[in-house]
C-alpha cells in the first residue's frame, strides 16, 4: 500500500491520537528550546546560564511557562482591541497546522494498526508549509498595527516586507528539490532521497533555504521586526501576559517547523544517516527508529539557529533586503535554470556524458569571454571637486585645515614640584580655596 492509501485507511481514533501528539509537539519543543537556547548561548559565552530552578536549571522553562500567563495584562488605550486580541491567535494557529504534513517516520504499527507517522500526505504537502508560514506573518503584522504605537508598527512593517521577500527565495529553493523528486508531497520527497540526500546534490538550494528559513522565522541575525536595540521589542512591545506567551510559542514552533521541513527536503527526512544505515541491512531504518534520526536532524538545525544567534550581529535592514532580492533570488533563479538544463540533457538518450562535458566547457569559456568584455567601473576621476579619499575610502581633511596648537606641557620636574603641597598633613590649612574661605 502506498503512503496515501495507508493514511486514508486510518481509523478515527488513530487520527485523533496523531492530532493530539502533533498539538503537543509544538509547546513541548518550545519549552525544550527555551532552556536549550539559553544553555547553549550561555555555554558559548562562558557563563552558567539558568541554574536556579531544578537540577542545572533544567526546569527553568516550566517556571517560565507558569509565570508568563499569570502576569498582568496591559492593553494600551490606543490599541485596536479586536485586532489586538486576534493577532497572537493568528500567529500561533498556522504554525501548529504545518505539523500535519511533516513525515516523522515510515510505516509502523500502532496498536496493531499499520500506518505512517504522518497526519496527512497531501499531493501538495510542501505548499501547505509555505501557506502556513505566509499566514503566520499576519499575526506579527497585525500585532504591530493594532498596538497603536510607533515601534510595534515599524516592527510590523519590517516583518511584512521581510517575510514576503524571503518567502520568494524559500519557494525558489524548494523548486530544485521538487524538480529532482518529481513530487510536491513531503512523503514522496523523503522517499526520493533514498539514493542521495539533497543537501549535497543541491547545495545552492540548501544554502538558500537555510538563509531564508532564518529570515522567515525572524531569528537573529535577521530578527529586525523585534530588533531590541532599535525598536524596543518590535511588534510585541505592547503585548504582555498570555498574549506575549503566544507570540513566543509561535516563534519557537515556527523554528521547529522550518527545521523539520529542511530535514524533510534536504537531510533525507527520517532516513538513517550514512554509517548507521549500513548496520544490519538498514535495520535501523525500520519501525520506530527513524523518529530518532528525524528528531536528531531537526535538533541539529535548531542548534544552528541558536549558534547563529550566539555568533552573528544583527544585519542592517537595507543590507538584509539587498541580500534577499539581489543575491538569494537571482542565484536561485540561475540555479533552477541549471538544474532544468542538467535534467533535460540527462533525459536525452542520444547525448553522452563526454559530449555534455565538452559543450559545458565551451559554454563556460564563452561566459568567461563575455565577462571579460564587460568594462570595469570607471572611477569618477574627472570630477575636479572630488575630495581625495584614502585607501580605505575615508575622506581626508582639506589641505587648508588649521590644526590647533597642542597645549604647552609642563616638564616632569615642574609637575613634581607642583604636586608637593598635597603631602601636607590634614588639619593644617595651607590652601586657600573659596570653600574654606566662606566657612
Amino acid at each position: 500500500m502506498t503512503r496515501a492509501e495507508l493514511l486514508a485507511d486510518d481509523p478515527l481514533w488513530l487520527i485523533l491520537i496523531k492530532a493530539v501528539v502533533l498539538l503537543l509537539i509544538g509547546p513541548l519543543m518550545t519549552m525544550f528550546m527555551v532552556i536549550f537556547e539559553r544553555k547553549v548561548v550561555a555555554w558559548m559565552q562562558h557563563r552558567p546560564g539558568p541554574n536556579r530552578v531544578g537540577p542545572w536549571g533544567l526546569l527553568q522553562s516550566i517556571a517560565d511557562a507558569i509565570k508568563l500567563p499569570f502576569k498582568e495584562q496591559i492593553i494600551p488605550t490606543t490599541a485596536d482591541r479586536k485586532v489586538y486580541f486576534l493577532a497572537p491567535i493568528v500567529s500561533v494557529i498556522p504554525s501548529f497546522l504545518a505539523f500535519s504534513v511533516i513525515p516523522f517516520g515510515p510505516q509502523v504499527s500502532i496498536f496493531g494498526e499499520q500506518t505512517v507517522l504522518q497526519l496527512v500526505d497531501l499531493p501538495v504537502g510542501a505548499l501547505v508549509i509555505l501557506a502556513c508560514s505566509s499566514l503566520g506573518v499576519y499575526g506579527i503584522v497585525l500585532a504591530g498595527w493594532a498596538s497603536g504605537s510607533a515601534y510595534p508598527l515599524l516592527g510590523g512593517l519590517r516583518s511584512a516586507a521581510q517575510v514576503i521577500s524571503y518567502e520568494i527565495a524559500m519557494g525558489l529553493s524548494i523548486v530544485g528539490v521538487i524538480l529532482y523528486s518529481h513530487s510536491l508531497s513531503t512523503g514522496d520527497i523523503v522517499d526520493a532521497q533514498r539514493d542521495g540526500w539533497y543537501f549535497y546534490l543541491l547545495i545552492p538550494s540548501f544554502v538558500i533555504y537555510l538563509i531564508s528559513m532564518v529570515g522567515e522565522t525572524n531569528r537573529a541575525p535577521f530578527d529586525l521586526p523585534e530588533a531590541e536595540s532599535e525598536l524596543v521589542g518590535g511588534f510585541h512591545t505592547e503585548y504582555s501576559s498570555m498574549k506575549f506567551a503566544m507570540f513566543f510559542l509561535a516563534e519557537y514552533t515556527n523554528m521547529v517547523i522550518v527545521s523539520m521541513f529542511a530535514t524533510t527536503l534536504f537531510l533525507g527526512g527520517y532516513m538513517a544517516p550514512w554509517p548507521i544505515s549500513l548496520i544490519g541491512d538498514n535495520y535501523l531504518n525500520t519501525g520506530w527508529w527513524p523518529v530518532l534520526w528525524f528528531m536528531g536532524k531537526t535538533m541539529l538545525l535548531l542548534f544552528v539557529f541558536v549558534w547563529l544567534r550566539g555568533t552573528l550581529p544583527r544585519m542592517r535592514y537595507d543590507q538584509f533586503m539587498r541580500l534577499g532580492w539581489k543575491v538569494l533570488v537571482p542565484v536561485s533563479l540561475v540555479w533552477i535554470v541549471v538544474i532544468a538544463g542538467i535534467r533535460a540533457f540527462r533525459n536525452e538518450p542520444n547525448i553522452s556524458t563526454s559530449q555534455i562535458l565538452v559543450f559545458g566547457g565551451v559554454a563556460l569559456l564563452v561566459l568567461i569571454a563575455v565577462a571579460m568584455l564587460i568594462p570595469d567601473k570607471r572611477a569618477r576621476a574627472e570630477d575636479e571637486y572630488l575630495v581625495p579619499v584614502t585607501g580605505g575610502g575615508h575622506p581626508v581633511p582639506p589641505l587648508d585645515l588649521e590644526v590647533p596648537k597642542p597645549p604647552k606641557r609642563r616638564s616632569l620636574s615642574e609637575a613634581k614640584v607642583a604636586r608637593k603641597p598635597a603631602a601636607v598633613p590634614a588639619g593644617q590649612s595651607t590652601s586657600d580655596t573659596p570653600d574654606k574661605e566662606s566657612e
Binding site: 499531493p123 499576519y138 510590523g156 582639506p398
Partner: protein, 290 residues
C-alpha cells in the same frame, strides 16, 4: 482528505455539502464585512477571510494545488502588500470625499452595474448549462500538480506567457514611474556624498554639531558640552529648549546678584568675559553656601 476527494462523485457528497455550508456563509460574511467595515485595515482582514474560505473550497473541490496557491499568493502575498500600504497610510486617515477625476462616480456606477450584470449572467449560465465535471481523471494517483503543469506548458502555453508578460510589464511600469535617480541634482544625498560635500565646504562645518554634555548631576539635553579647556561649547546648547533662558537672562541674574564685572582696565581684551563668567560661578556658589 484524499478519501474525501476520491469519494466526491458527480453528485455532491455529504462532506462537500457540509464544507460548502460552513465556508459559504463565512465567505459571504467576509465579503459583506469588507464592504461595510469602517476601518481600511478591518476591511482588508475581512477580505482575507473571504480569500481563505475560497481557498479551502478549491481544496474541497479536488483542486488542492489551486487552493494552496490561492492561500500563498492571494492571502499571503497580495493581501499582505495591501495591508502594508494601508498601515503606511495611517489608521485614522479616512477616504477623501473630493472627486479628483470628473464624473468618476457616474462611471464607477455604470461600470459596476455592467460588471455585476456580467457576473450574474455567467453564474446563472453555470447553474444551468455547464456540465458537472469530475476531476478524478485529472487527479489520478495524486498527479494533480503534474497534470496542471503539463496543461499549462502545452495547451495553455500562450495565454500563460501572455499573462506573465502582462505582469512583468506592470512591474516594469511601476518601477519606471517610481524610480528616482538619487544622483541627480536636488535629490537627497547619500551618506558618502554628504561627507564629501561637507569637506568641500558646502556646509558650515565638516562635523555635526557637538552633542549635549552629560554630567553626573544631569542628563538633560540642556546641559552644555564642555570644550577641552573647560569652557562651555556654545554650539552644544539647543536654541529650542527653554532652559537656555538662563543663558538669555544671565545679565539680569548677574545684576541681581551684584556680580557684574565692574570697570575693568583690560575690558578691551577678549578673554575678560570668559574669566568673569567663571568668577561669577564661583561667587554664586559661595553665596549659596553662606
Amino acid at each position: 482528505m484524499s478519501a474525501v476527494l476520491a469519494a466526491a462523485a458527480a453528485e455532491v457528497s455529504t462532506g462537500e455539502a457540509i464544507a460548502f455550508w460552513v465556508l459559504g456563509p463565512v465567505a459571504l460574511a467576509g465579503a459583506l464585512g469588507m464592504i461595510f467595515a469602517r476601518n481600511a485595515v478591518h476591511s482588508a482582514l475581512w477580505l482575507v477571510l473571504t480569500m481563505l474560505s475560497l481557498g479551502v473550497m478549491y481544496m474541497v473541490q479536488q483542486a488542492p494545488f489551486l487552493g494552496f496557491v490561492q492561500i500563498i499568493v492571494y492571502t499571503g502575498a497580495v493581501m499582505m502588500l495591501f495591508l502594508f500600504v494601508l498601515m503606511l497610510v495611517g489608521r485614522d486617515s479616512s477616504d477623501s470625499v473630493v472627486e479628483v477625476l470628473r464624473g468618476q462616480r457616474l462611471w464607477a456606477t455604470v461600470l459596476g452595474i455592467g460588471i455585476a450584470g456580467l457576473i450574474v449572467g455567467a453564474v446563472s449560465r453555470s447553474l444551468t448549462d455547464v456540465p458537472v465535471e469530475n476531476l478524478q481523471q485529472q487527479n489520478a494517483g495524486g498527479a494533480n500538480v503534474n497534470n496542471l503543469g503539463k496543461s499549462i506548458f502545452t495547451e495553455y502555453l500562450f495565454p500563460f506567457e501572455l499573462t506573465s508578460a502582462l505582469l512583468i510589464t506592470a512591474a516594469m511600469g511601476a518601477m519606471v514611474l517610481g524610480y528616482l535617480n538619487r544622483h541627480e541634482k536636488g535629490m537627497k544625498r547619500t551618506q558618502k556624498e554628504l561627507v564629501e560635500a561637507r569637506f568641500r565646504g558646502e556646509y558650515e562645518r565638516p562635523s555635526p554639531l557637538p552633542g549635549p554634555g552629560v554630567f553626573a548631576t544631569a542628563n538633560s539635553v540642556a546641559t552644555p558640552a564642555l570644550l577641552p579647556d573647560g569652557s562651555v561649547a556654545p554650539e552644544s546648547l539647543s536654541r529650542l529648549i527653554d532652559s537656555t533662558a538662563s543663558e538669555t537672562f544671565s545679565d539680569e541674574i548677574k545684576s541681581v546678584a551684584g556680580t557684574e564685572p565692574g570697570p575693568d582696565a583690560h575690558a578691551l581684551t577678549p578673554s575678560t568675559k570668559d574669566t568673569s563668567t567663571t568668577d561669577t560661578k564661583n561667587t554664586e556658589d559661595t553665596e549659596e553656601t553662606r
